[in-house]
Symmetry: none
Subunit: 424 residues, 2 copies
């Protein structure tokens, strides 16, 4: 790259996401949040985030302005093959580099198509046009390579990092190439612990540790929530080489002493992954009888490599006929108590467990609404049945709420929480 051997330290960054669809509100900017999280973990302060459309003049202006303020500008999106994908060209021009065809990249792109028996669209040669002499970032999940481009602003070196817009291309490219590159150019880092809780609300969780939040200094505690779940982020900024995590561990221990019964993970895994891993670790197998969640629970438990050793199958028994025929519920139970009843949930859990010959049968039955059909149950009311080897069958009643999407999502999380509690 340069004659300078010591890489200049990177302390501040801005994030620019590119795409008219973001300005029009058609797409929610999850990439900016993801990049904010990554940079914060690296101890890099983000001063500003911007969104600009697919417009050369305005993108160029936004890049120059950001370069005048910070050491690092992360650009995301606009690396596709079409005419309105302009990020590579504009960033190269602002940084004073011309684009040349990178033959290795062009061959990779071509083989991406030919391997699938497609002809190579002419347009895609554009994605091989890269700034001369700059770092190319390989894209293992798509055709658009990224780049790290060196530029100057008022004599200072500023780096532009260009990443593709699709989240599952952006994240691996950041993790594989950008994170190590940044780690070599930063002095501090943030060390985080993510404490994940289920079965308790955000306010109640926060109230239980209010005094710890109040007196935080070197170690900070930030609560946040998603549908049905609460997270606590415990963070400390420290020199990269400093491996002493005594302070962090002490705060985590205090939180665990207060909220231990709700904590299903201190780490990166979400609830479905924790449950999946717990089943695997205990050599247990599971089958599901889903009604209200319509396949979402099965989909959550089959997200993981190797899940076919744990998940033996499921029945999305959306009709009474299916509940009777495919899971073995008594017709009389359905006509007497309705499909949304504790006894139906019990028979569903036990029925699916016996039928699939597994260690765990899990059932969910309820009304998602907004219509009620012929059921007398309230919308949002559901029953979760759990039939587990060596345990009595348990049925939990839960009242969910919100839009159809959020309501069913809450049921998914709640069912997994009960399963986790029964297995832990």
């Amino acid at each position: 790259m340069n004659e300078v051997i010591e890489p200049s330290a990177i302390r501040q960054a801005e994030v620019i996401t590119v795409g008219t669809e973001l300005l029009l509100g058609q797409t929610v900017n999850t990439n900016a949040a993801q990049l904010g999280l990554f940079l914060s973990e690296l101890g890099i302060s983000v001063y500003r985030m911007s969104v600009v459309g697919d417009n050369k003049g305005r993108l160029s202006e936004a890049i120059s302005q950001a370069m005048s303020r910070v050491d690092l500008v992360i650009l995301c999106g606009g690396l596709g093959p079409t005419d309105d994908d302009i990020t590579m060209q504009v960033a190269a021009t602002v940084a004073g580099h011309r684009l040349v065809r990178n033959d290795a990249v062009w061959e990779t792109i071509q083989s991406h198509f030919t391997a699938r028996g497609f002809s190579v669209p002419e347009k895609n040669v554009k994605q091989a046009m890269l700034p001369a002499g700059q770092t190319v970032l390989e894209n293992k999940n798509g055709t658009a390579p990224g780049a790290i481009i060196e530029g100057k602003s008022a004599g200072r070196t500023v780096y532009l990092v260009l990443l593709p817009g699709p989240p599952d291309e952006l994240t691996p490219m950041f993790e594989n190439a950008v994170r190590p590159w940044l780690e070599a150019r930063t002095e501090d880092r943030f060390e985080h612990r993510y404490i994940r809780l289920a079965g308790i609300g955000e306010s109640a969780a926060e109230a239980a540790i209010a005094d710890l939040i109040e007196k935080q200094s070197a170690v900070t505690i930030a609560p946040y929530a998603s549908v049905g779940q609460v997270y606590l982020r415990v963070s400390q900024r420290k020199p990269r080489q400093d491996t002493d995590d005594t302070d962090l561990r002490s705060v985590v221990a205090q939180i665990r002493a207060r909220l231990g019964e709700y904590i299903y993970e201190i780490g990166p895994r979400d609830l479905p992954e924790v449950v999946h891993d717990l089943l695997k670790q205990k050599n247990m197998t599971i089958a599901l009888a889903e009604s209200i969640t319509g396949g979402q629970l099965s989909a959550e438990l089959t997200r993981f490599p190797g899940s076919s050793a744990v998940f033996m199958g499921g029945v999305v028994c959306y009709s009474n006929a299916s509940k009777i025929r495919d899971v073995g519920v008594d017709a009389a139970v359905l006509s007497e108590h309705g499909a949304v009843s504790a006894i139906a949930a019990k028979q569903l859990a036990e029925g699916v467990k016996a039928r699939f010959d597994v260690s765990v049968g899990l059932s969910v039955t309820g009304l998602a609404g907004p219509g009620k059909g012929q059921e007398s149950a309230e919308i949002g009311t559901c029953y979760i049945g759990l039939a587990i080897d060596g345990q009595d069958t348990a049925v939990h009643c839960y009242k969910s709420w919100g839009s159809r999407e959020k309501l069913t999502r809450r049921v998914v999380i709640h069912a997994l929480m009960h399963l986790w509690e029964a297995l832990r």
Copy 2:
């Protein structure tokens, strides 16, 4: 231009959302997307969106810069009672107004607390400190009022609109107060048509209409892509009263003439919703036998109110035993051809159709990877079976790719596309 229109006409806007939690990636910026959508409906072009933290200097700089570029700056967040809520004070200062206590607002805030039997926190008087002589926006869902503040930039009038951060306060305030205020100050609106395609890549779709994109003037065409799908946004800015959509319809008709076979929707619905509605409209019912997609297809078809009239159920037959027992595949077929075979897909589709007594049986079987199990099929290869009343059973082979998540998502979209093609 300038001499013809009224001085108060608003054409361009920027959106600034305020909050360190956004920069740290703890919160996804859904407010910016919501505001983008609102402004686009009003025919106001959004040039840029920014996020800044709770820092006076940087917020002040961002506001001044935005004022230099556009007629309207919407600010969102930072109106709370705590010390790091600085938006009202900073915006008033930049626009040259001082804050005075608004007694009517202060009384409303006080009664908000006293009505609930709480004492009034001293801090909250801050939320009654508003720019003298400017428009106050009542908050019916919280304590923070909004404001419309008039300022100047290089002699031009620029309006600052301040809205609270919680989405359930922001949206009603926008709808009740800001939208009518803006409608009185805008002459144009944007009219959009969303054309949705499946079964064709973004490059190929764009190539087919390259000349239309090239010669676009009043009507613009913007392509974008998500996993397995391509969208074209066709847009025209026009006077609010103008209901003539001849130009827009002409461009849509030309696109339809080129790409009609791939277009499943001109409108807001995604592919699962189009397929769901098509089944409903034809009084057809469906059942699924899913292997590789692990419940995702069922989850997609049960997202909609009333789906229980269309979707009769599904089997997530993740094991061979389940394929045989629950769907009726021949054991000999599985041992001879494997579970990932055309004949298995055919038997799964026909079996699930017969078992659930529905008009459509849809099956998907394949390997999601990354491990291969005992199957000899390639990772990503899958077979999609379609057994439909009055049609011969069809089996489609598809080679998907990417991460486990994207690979299975592509199969979901591909299966729905074949179903749509068979039903249209």
